[in-house]
């Protein structure tokens, strides 16, 4: 998928563990893992808001658009 989730990079920068972050934003560690591994199909605005609040960053710091090869 051309949207890359850079959540692990941001978490490393802020030195936050997955368990703590999951608890802070109110989702299960399993769901956070799905998001981190890029398996998620969609992200709710409420989740994104909580992530930005807890990691003190912008949505662009977590999500990145990389054009697919072969597409224009």
């Amino acid at each position: 998928m051309p949207i890359i989730v850079n959540l692990d990079v941001m978490m490393a920068k802020r030195k936050v563990s997955a368990g703590d972050l999951a608890k802070a934003i109110g989702i299960t560690p399993a769901n956070l893992s799905i998001l981190k591994n890029g398996k998620a199909k969609a992200v709710r605005f409420t989740t994104l808001e909580a992530l930005c609040r807890e990691l003190n960053c912008q949505p662009g710091d977590i999500l990145e658009y990389v054009p697919e090869e072969g597409s224009d």
Binding site: I27, N31, I34, A40, K41, T47
Partner: protein, 150 residues
């Protein structure tokens, strides 16, 4: 899950078990039952009892398979695994069982015409189950999408 939903599910399971018991009783008592039936209806030749027995025992197979699938489906629903690939497969299987029963009744209607009504009912039921199966397949997709929305 709410208490009422649980109760409704239990009622359905009890009905499925009762149907299974009824099926076994029918299979056991079929020879006696059809002898009595043919005696009551004098238009039927006595040797037609064998035809009735063949119909009963061949229909019992898809009926038993469908009941087994129903039981598995209900067990999955109780585990709150509703819209899964397995359940869609069970519904598909049940639909085929109904169609098989319909075909057996269609063949049987050559010696006893009222079986044609059962054939129509079974084929219609197969059709309804197919539509439900299609709905389940679609719901499975939506659930997958929902599960991966964080």
């Amino acid at each position: 899950m709410k208490w009422n939903d649980d109760k409704s599910l239990l009622l359905t399971r009890v009905c499925v078990w009762l149907s299974a018991v009824a099926l076994v009783l029918l299979c056991v008592s079929a020879p006696w039952l059809f002898s009595w039936f043919i005696q009551k209806r004098l238009i039927l030749p006595p040797q037609s009892r064998d035809y009735f027995l063949v119909t009963t025992y061949t229909v019992a197979v898809p009926a038993a398979v469908a009941l087994y699938m129903m039981n598995r489906l209900l067990a999955n629903i109780r585990k709150e695994e509703v819209f899964t690939e397995k359940n869609t497969r069970y519904l598909r299987g049940m639909s085929w069982c109904c169609l098989a029963a319909g075909l057996i009744f269609l063949v049987s209607s050559f010696y006893y015409l009222p079986f044609f009504a059962l054939c129509a009912a079974a084929v219609f039921m197969a059709l309804i189950l197919r539509v439900i199966k299609n709905v389940f397949a679609q719901a499975e997709e939506i659930k997958k999408e929902n599960d991966y929305t964080i």
